[in-house]
């Protein structure tokens, strides 16, 4: 369990650093489209090497390939929107919204796979909705009073 927890914290450190690097790159004048192209390009190369090393072959059913294309485009659009948003807002808020988006597949699972809406999920969705309302209102207030930014 000790080793697992170390890896949990390493995971948190990696994901958190990724968001911080996005903000640093933005401050250094990197263009969102160039940055996200490089991110996905490098990641595709790493994953291709991983696939080749695993020697499991490239066999993927057509419907899975189609889904990978559609959802890969969704991911690129999401990260592109994240990178654009941090140039006009706070990285903390944008990163939180990215993480709150995990509620969307949870909602789709409840609808598509008839998963149970547990009290825990119910509370989580309510909190997520309240958080989004507060974040949007907070941004509105910030725009109305730019001197307090």
């Amino acid at each position: 369990m000790g080793t697992s927890i170390v890896f949990c914290f390493l995971g948190a450190l990696s994901f958190g650093s990724c968001a911080c690097v996005s903000k640093i790159a933005d401050r250094q004048g990197c263009r969102a489209s160039a940055l996200i192209s490089c991110l996905f390009g490098w990641a595709a190369v790493f994953m291709l090497i991983r696939t080749l090393v695993a020697k499991t072959g490239f066999a993927l059913p057509g419907r899975a390939t189609g889904m990978a294309v559609v959802l890969g485009v969704c991911a690129a659009v999401a990260i592109f929107a994240f990178q654009m948003s941090i140039s006009m807002g706070k990285v903390t808020v944008a990163w939180l919204v990215m993480n709150l988006s995990s509620g969307v597949p949870a909602l789709v699972s409840i609808w598509l796979y008839r998963e149970e809406l547990t009290p825990l999920k119910y509370v989580a969705f309510t909190l997520a909705l309240a958080a989004l309302i507060c974040l949007f209102l907070g941004k509105k207030l910030e725009m109305q009073a730019p001197a307090t930014k």
Binding site: G11, F40, R50, T56, I79, S102, A128
Partner: protein
């Protein structure tokens, strides 16, 4: 514009991770995730890079470097999470620690290094959102 970007992120990022769950539901072997993710990243690359290169723009060495750093950190985070799960930590511990820890880290870095100051409503939103993410990752 900012509000639209937030809505776009919320919908597209949420759905982007849904595929691995569908693959598991279809009964495909666990090893399918490697070619799946290769296609996933390649499609994302094509979607952003094609319009970029069609405008005859060039990537600067700085953008290439930061993009590589982001890719390494993103894949590193996923690998660390996978190893944590493989070495026996339950998902309801791993996901709250990795996602919650990353949000805390970004929050602290935002305040300390990037000078981000929040009004009260935004602070309440972040606290509520943090709790929501923890509960979503446990559930």
């Amino acid at each position: 514009m900012w509000f639209l970007l937030m809505l776009l992120m919320l919908l597209t990022n949420g759905m982007s991770a849904f595929g691995l769950k569908v693959i598991a539901a279809w009964g495909l072997p666990d090893t399918s995730k490697f070619p799946y993710l290769t296609v996933w990243y390649a499609a994302g690359f094509a979607c952003i890079a094609l319009p970029f290169f069609m405008r005859k723009q060039i990537v600067s060495p700085r953008e290439l470097g930061w993009g590589a750093a982001m890719a390494v950190l993103s894949i590193g985070g996923q690998l660390a999470t996978a190893v944590a799960l493989q070495t026996g930590a339950p998902g309801n511990v791993v996901f709250p620690v990795t996602t919650g820890g990353a949000i805390l880290m970004v929050g602290v870095a935002g305040q300390v290094f990037f000078g981000e100051r929040m009004n009260r409503v935004t602070t309440v939103g972040i606290l509520l959102g943090f709790l929501a993410v923890l509960l979503l990752s446990i559930g």
